[in-house]
């Protein structure tokens, strides 16, 4: 695994991402971020809070689907938490872009960052599909299709992997 990540990092060093990272690091925004010590920790805090919003939303929808948490109807639960999920995802993108602006080389020339991005794209697409499937279940009452249940579980696991990716960015061979 270590060799694979190292080779991935080597490959990234030969791409346009190096020039892009250096260009980003010379922008006024990047300079401002690196010269203000608390900017990156604060952006990371906001990023973590956005993850908390999105993960709790996915978790509560999954819990409702499995009947573990069940005071409100499926429609009410789905409506409430999918809104939280979309707003949290928007916050994740904005704070994530801010962190890239502050530390472009650490992020863009990092194999785990790109694995995380692939998982985020998969997660977002699956979440959009999942939300649409869930809406179709609203009028069927409490009977939830097996595929929707499976997708809810998949999303919870995927979110854990995305969180793991985010933490391991700091430990990747760059």
């Amino acid at each position: 695994m270590g060799d694979l990540l190292f080779n991935f990092a080597e490959w990234l060093r030969g791409t346009f991402l190096v020039d892009l990272s250096l260009w980003i690091s010379e922008t006024a925004l990047s300079t401002w971020i690196v010269t203000h010590f608390w900017t990156i920790p604060i952006m990371q805090v906001l990023h973590i809070l956005a993850i908390a919003g999105s993960f709790a939303a996915v978790l509560m929808i999954a819990a409702r689907i499995y009947g573990i948490a069940g005071h409100a109807s499926l429609a009410e639960t789905g409506h409430r938490y999918t809104r939280v999920l979309w707003w949290s995802l928007a916050a994740l993108v904005i704070t994530g872009l801010g962190m890239i602006a502050g530390e472009p080389v650490r992020e863009l020339i990092n194999p785990i960052f790109w694995i995380k991005m692939a998982l985020v794209i998969i997660g977002t697409l699956v979440a959009v599909w999942f939300a649409a499937s869930l809406r179709r279940q609203y009028h069927t009452g409490e009977v939830v299709q097996g595929s929707v249940k499976l997708t809810a579980t998949f999303l919870v696991v995927l979110w854990c992997l995305i969180i793991a990716g985010g933490r391991w960015i700091a430990y990747a061979p760059v």
Binding site: I51, F55, A56, L59, A63, A69, A72, A164, R167
Partner: protein, 169 residues
């Protein structure tokens, strides 16, 4: 070789467990990952109830039922966060105890706990009477705001520890 411990924190840090966690290439990041997963679950589920208390978002859901749905997740995740946080502490005990951000984080955790305990022992006992009112009592809103502020600060000080460990040794 590690030096002979001269205080309790060094004894913890230089214990076989502390040395293993500090020397392992995978143990610390793995514990951090589990700590983050637990932490975001705690904060996300607490925020669901807090935001309802302060009146943000949909008011269609009764706050007592929202709490019933979220509390098992909150407590389970809190237990995991405490366990993983404890193990992270063991790996660098003597650095953490002199880090002011770590001490602030512990203080804020205590305040968040006291706020929750006070709320549950007082106003929460009569939640059935006020939760269907258009506006919640001031004390309930205040408890919600305090909880949100305390937990955001817990995250901030937690993150600040990682950025300042080299400043205090």
């Amino acid at each position: 070789m590690y030096p002979e411990p001269t205080n309790i924190w060094q004894s913890i840090e230089y214990s076989p467990l502390g040395i293993f966690l500090a020397e392992s290439t995978w143990a610390f990041p793995t514990l951090e990952t589990l700590h983050v997963i637990a932490l975001v679950t705690v904060i996300g589920t607490i925020a669901i109830v807090d935001l309802r208390l302060v009146g943000v978002g949909s008011r269609a859901h009764r706050v007592s039922l929202l709490a019933k749905d979220t509390l098992p997740w909150t407590w389970g995740a809190f237990a995991l966060a405490a366990l993983t946080g404890g193990l992270l502490f063991v790996s660098k005990a003597s650095s953490y105890v002199i880090n002011p951000y770590f001490l602030w984080k512990m203080g804020l955790l205590a305040l968040a706990g006291l706020n929750m305990m006070y709320f549950h022992l007082t106003l929460w006992r009569t939640v059935d009477h006020w939760e269907q009112d258009p506006s919640f009592p001031f004390a309930a809103k205040l408890a919600g705001w305090l909880s949100l502020v305390f937990w955001v600060l817990v995250v901030f000080f937690g993150r600040a520890i990682g950025f300042t460990l080299s400043f205090y040794f």
